[in-house]
């Protein structure tokens, strides 16, 4: 089915079931946040896992997607789907420009350039208070009604929309990885000079992957802004960029379900450990270290290795 391995297909069914039952067991807002971050992390995983580029600036696309969506919906009264699509396009456009610059360098230099470019976006967000609200953020973004008719004020209605976007995102990412394009991308990750010697311009493939990752981040950020009704500097800062890398590593780099599980664990920590205040960051740091030291493949990556099947 859809190029899934058997284990992946089972995983998908379990996930669909969990998404369906979820809002009746857990706090829907929490789950919607998890799905938004999962979408964000899946994009980052395309960069890290598929083609082997570590970006430390993914929050720029996530945050700007959220700002543009929030601004259009709140100030101009656009409907949510327009806001979310605009968020995705913002991410893609920003990714096209920044990616074009960043792919010229490799490894740590690539990471540093993405970080520096994201910091520019962050300071823009701090400074341009007319657009982003500065320290206050954009507050009270109305959920209004999908296509102007279906009200999203009910949490379950909103949840259904987020679930559809999230599941479509999972299928989309899987398709990208298992496409003719994805095959060349894998070859570039494995041995870039060899791929070039076969006649593939690796920079074009990297650029496209970068844009896709940024577009997913934009959609995720916009959707999160619609869910929470607020968009702040938290989503555009370096900490959010670090968080998404943590999600991917924790869950399992280069797997489908790893970033999703990573998002679940990290967001759950923020929610359920919030009474520890600033200590949450320390706990996250400890988990990150444990991850690097003990199970470098991440949770899902380790599971896939033990079961000898891609997950």
């Amino acid at each position: 089915m859809f190029g899934f391995s058997k284990a992946q297909a089972i995983g998908f069914l379990i996930m669909v079931a969990a998404v369906a039952i979820g809002p009746f067991v857990l706090y829907p807002i929490f789950l919607m946040q998890v799905m938004c971050f999962a979408l964000f992390a899946m994009g980052a995983n395309l960069l890290m896992g598929s083609i082997g580029l570590l970006s430390l600036g993914q929050a720029a696309y996530f945050g700007m997607g959220g700002y543009v969506c929030g601004y259009l919906v709140q100030s101009y009264g656009f409907t949510p789907e327009v806001g979310i699509i605009a968020g995705g396009l913002t991410g893609a456009a920003l990714g096209a420009v920044f990616g074009w610059l960043a792919i010229r360098r490799q490894t740590i230099y690539f990471a540093m350039i993405t970080l520096a470019l994201a910091q520019i976006v962050y300071f823009f967000a701090v400074q341009d208070t007319d657009f982003t609200g500065g320290e206050n953020g954009i507050q009270g973004i109305p959920r209004s009604a999908l296509f102007g008719h279906l009200s999203l004020n009910n949490d379950l209605a909103m949840y259904a929309l987020v679930a559809v976007i999230f599941l479509a995102g999972v299928l989309f990412v899987h398709r990208v990885v298992h496409s003719p394009f994805g095959q060349v991308v894998k070859a570039i990750r494995e041995n870039e000079p060899r791929a070039i010697s076969l006649g593939y311009k690796s920079e074009h493939y990297k650029w496209i992957i970068f844009i896709i990752a940024a577009a997913l981040a934009g959609v995720a950020g916009a959707t999160k802004a619609m869910v929470m009704g607020i968009e702040t500097l938290t989503d555009v800062g370096a900490a959010a960029s670090g968080l998404v890398v943590l999600m991917v590593l924790l869950g399992g780099i280069g797997t489908i379900y790893g970033p999703i599980l990573g998002a679940l664990v990290v967001v759950a920590m923020q929610y359920y450990l919030s009474s520890f205040g600033a200590w949450v960051t320390v706990i996250q740091g400890a988990i990150f270290m444990a991850c690097v030291l003990v199970f470098r493949r991440g949770v899902i990556g380790e599971l896939a290795y033990r079961l000898k099947t891609p997950l």
């Binding site: 003719p180 394009f181 494995e190 000079p193 060899r194 070039i196 010697s197 076969l198 006649g199 496209i208």
Partner: protein
């Protein structure tokens, strides 16, 4: 004289004051196996990297099939039909043998930027990929990840991948480097079997490989051409003996 597929004129590469390749005029004729030999540090691999545009020459021109390629990018050179291998075996480790060959075959689709389409469209290349793997003796390893193949078989897979592009000129960078005796003779047999209708330029250390295979040999020392000709001519050339064995033997 036969038609030249690859020609260089005064090819030079200077690395911060050190001339790795200095004024090399190379002429590879269509349908021949041409070997580039020389002691360590003679500039053979640099020469290879210049020809395939992985390095930009400091001076001189390169023309391939009558076209000046001095200013082209490596991927463009590959698309013109000059495909290289690497000194350290270059396979895609996590891809299976058949997938490795298919990556080369799918180039004939053009750009391959279609990320929205299923990779099932690549199945039409499977038959051709299996044929190529059969040709290099890897029929039993079709679905084995390349990283799990032995060194000699990785080289064979690399050759199959290169052949998949039907290159007009194949450049092999030390195809037998680091191999066991058995693997060396397998690769030599493979190259002599595949040579019909092909043009090959190879860098090689192993003189027995060179003597058996090549029509023309160019000896390089310190970035310059020392001697050129068939094996008998080159191996009796006093300067070559000096370069390889030292002055005592001259």
């Amino acid at each position: 004289m036969a038609e030249a597929i690859l020609e260089t004129d005064g090819l030079t590469k200077v690395f911060g004051g050190f001339t790795a390749v200095g004024g090399v005029n190379l002429r590879v004729e269509t349908g021949t196996i041409h070997a580039l030999i020389g002691p360590n540090g003679a500039g053979k691999t640099t020469c290879f990297n210049l020809l395939t545009k992985f390095l930009q020459p400091s001076a001189g021109t390169i023309s391939f099939a009558g076209q000046d390629i001095t200013a082209k990018k490596p991927a463009d050179v590959a698309r013109l039909g000059m495909v290289r291998s690497f000194q350290i075996s270059a396979v895609f480790g996590h891809l299976t043998a058949v997938e490795n060959v298919r990556v080369a075959l799918q180039r004939d689709r053009g750009r391959n930027f279609d990320f929205w389409r299923s990779d099932r469209v690549l199945r039409r290349y499977n038959d051709r990929a299996h044929e190529l793997l059969f040709d290099v003796g890897l029929s039993d390893a079709v679905d084995v990840p390349a990283a799990e193949l032995s060194y000699g078989r990785k080289r064979a897979l690399e050759i199959a991948t290169t052949l998949a592009l039907e290159p007009r000129l194949m450049l092999l960078d030390e195809p037998t480097a680091g191999m066991t005796e058995a693997d060396v003779s397998r690769i030599v047999a493979l190259i002599s079997r595949l040579r019909a209708g092909r043009t090959i330029l190879m860098v090689e250390h192993n003189l027995s490989v060179v003597s058996g295979l090549s029509d023309k040999i160019t000896v390089l020392t310190r970035g310059k051409i020392l001697a050129e000709g068939d094996y008998a001519t080159v191996s009796n050339h006093p300067d070559v003996i000096t370069a390889y064995l030292g002055t005592d033997h001259a």
